[in-house]
């Protein structure tokens, strides 16, 4: 009986392990594929340009111009927001859908603060997202794909492995089958989202994971989903699951 239990436990463990797209010991954050300059910028909080947005987010967190600030309810972000970003995207019962961090912040703004939603990729939304994500720095990604999030996750997985665009490429062809190899001057990364929002030197700005995914879609000559489109949230959740265990690096720096 005992042996059977152990076998059962082992079998379920193996089944679980196989569910990972990448084995845990093969997981490598994008910064490991980056050059020395980007690595130096990311490791120095005083030189990392992403902190311009983190500071902006901190100001907005306390901004009570319209009555209630974020801090009125959530208090000290370093305590209340610790670990939150590591669990996103997450299913939100009020919205009845999976929301990424940006959408969740806007949801709070509209529903609780009664203020107009911030535009995607605006400095204010990037700032708040970066500030909240920064509170989870060093914590492992641990998004839940159980319960109502499952459908979103499955759609995200389907999108990830499906071929897109004129070049007929899937996300997996590069980031799963060919990571570590060169694509012209670039080393193909595993395509994780653990450093977002991140400062991309190419953009000369902070940008969201959605912007990065759209850039990939553009690169393979596929139609870019609009910001906030369900497909993007689907992939974001799949990526969070795929990278589970990687430490949050926000705000990251990439070339």
């Amino acid at each position: 009986m005992k042996v059977a239990l152990v076998l059962l436990a082992l079998a379920s463990f193996c089944a679980h392990a196989q569910q990972r797209a990448l084995p845990l010991d093969a997981l490598r954050p994008g910064i490991e594929f980056s050059g020395a300059d980007a690595r130096a910028l990311q490791s120095d909080d005083l030189a990392n340009p992403g902190f311009l947005w983190v500071d902006r987010g901190e100001k907005l967190w306390r901004d009570s111009a319209a009555g209630q600030s974020c801090a009125s309810c959530h208090g000290d972000a370093s305590k209340s927001m610790r670990g939150i970003a590591a669990r996103y995207p997450a299913y939100d019962a009020n919205a009845g859908a999976v929301l990424d961090l940006e959408a969740r912040i806007n949801d709070c703004r509209v529903r609780r603060q009664k203020r107009p939603a911030l535009q995607r990729e605006s400095d204010d939304l990037l700032g708040l997202t970066a500030y909240v994500a920064y509170q989870s720095r060093g914590m492992p990604l641990a998004a839940s794909i159980d319960g109502p999030a499952r459908v979103t996750f499955e759609r995200g997985r389907e999108f990830y492995y499906a071929r897109h665009g004129q070049m007929n490429l899937s996300c997996a062809l590069c980031h799963e089958q060919n990571w570590g190899k060169r694509l012209y001057a670039e080393t193909i990364s595993q395509g994780h989202g653990n450093a977002f929002p991140e400062y991309k030197l190419e953009w000369q700005s902070l940008g969201s994971l959605q912007r990065r995914i759209r850039a990939c879609m553009y690169g393979i000559r596929a139609e870019m989903p609009t910001y906030g489109a369900p497909e993007l949230t689907d992939v974001e959740l799949f990526l969070a699951w795929r990278g589970q265990g990687l430490a949050v690096e926000s705000p990251g720096v990439r070339r």
């Binding site: 340009p49 311009l52 000369q204």
Partner: protein, 106 residues
């Protein structure tokens, strides 16, 4: 938007050099880009940046479109007495940005 981040040592000894670091949020629009409808986006970059220590100029730079967005300056100043560092910069549109840091000298 005139956000900036400044870093100076919390305490300094008289006569010694201390490091000043400042990054400024600025798109440094080069003037070479076009918008989605093809119209050129006018140049708007920080043209002058200056730092004063208790009123005396200690650092100044003329910058141009060759400087990347969100410029980052790092320089050294000799600690004389406690006071303030005042930073000022101005862009092509005439928008002036300012920031201040407190310097403690023991």
């Amino acid at each position: 938007m005139a956000d900036s981040r400044i870093n100076v040592p919390p305490e300094n000894r008289r006569g010694e050099l201390f490091e000043v670091r400042i990054s400024i949020r600025d798109a440094m629009e080069t003037g070479y880009r076009t918008d989605e409808s093809g119209r050129p986006i006018p140049r708007n970059v920080i043209r002058r940046f200056a730092c004063r220590y208790n009123g005396d100029p200690v650092f100044a730079a003329r910058t141009s479109s060759g400087i990347a967005a969100n410029p980052y300056f790092r320089f050294f100043v000799t600690a004389r007495e406690s006071g303030t560092l005042d930073f000022e910069w101005i862009d092509d549109a005439g928008t002036r940005g300012t920031a201040q840091a407190t310097i403690k000298v023991a």
